[in-house]
Symmetry: C2
DNA sequence: CTCTTCTGTAAGTTCAAACTAACATTTGAA
DNA sequence: TTCAAATGTTAGTTTGAACTTACAGAAGAG
């Protein structure tokens, strides 16, 4: 989970996510939005985002079209909620004990 | 905000936050929980967490006691919710237009 | 005062991650 | 086939963040 959080915290990667929030886009077009960095660099960022379930990839001919994957964000969102909210913490602890009793 | 997200994504810093989730603690005692890294390293992590509003600091004699600051987490949580949820996005856009009309 | 305890700060090192340049792969078109 | 377009991958470089060592400062005890 920390890896996923780190994935979105990189400025370039977050800019990519912002770009894809409103519309899906092929890799090449994404790269044109970042003239200061090379296309391979963007490609590597896309791979990281994809591996962390923050993007979907689909192929159309030679193009690879990337699309935001909301669940990835929701996972982080939920993780933080659980960390932060002590009541949820306690509920989780109870659930885990329940689980243990079942296994025993 | 990205800086804050990056702050919690470091494994050592997140471990510090986990440690402080249940109880506040002076800097020295925090450091003892991380025998593999030096005390100054922990001190630097504490500074980063403090600067990002993830920790409170209070002084007692020569000790500096650190305590979790839930709002910091809530800020990230809310930021992701807004990014992720398209309905909230639209509501925000409407609110901003409203604001503009008032200024004009 | 002086000493000790607890801690932060500064300077320099190390290492992982982001980057570039060159090459490889895949797909469709002629 | 052959070529071009779109993209990924690899190898090596660069840069920034985490780290260590050494030093500095602040607060109480004696």
């Amino acid at each position: 989970m920390l890896e996923k959080i780190q994935a979105i915290s990189d400025p370039t990667r977050f800019a990519i996510l912002e770009l894809l929030r409103d519309q899906e886009m092929p890799a090449g077009k994404i790269a044109t939005h970042f003239p200061s960095i090379s296309r391979p660099a963007v490609s590597q960022h896309l791979r990281i985002l994809k591996h962390n379930n923050l993007l979907w990839e689909r192929r159309e001919g030679t193009k690879r079209i990337y699309r935001l994957r909301p669940k990835g964000f929701y996972d982080i969102y939920q993780f933080l909620e659980e960390f932060w909210d002590p009541r949820l913490q306690k509920l989780k602890a109870v659930a885990e004990k329940e689980e243990e009793r079942k296994r025993a």
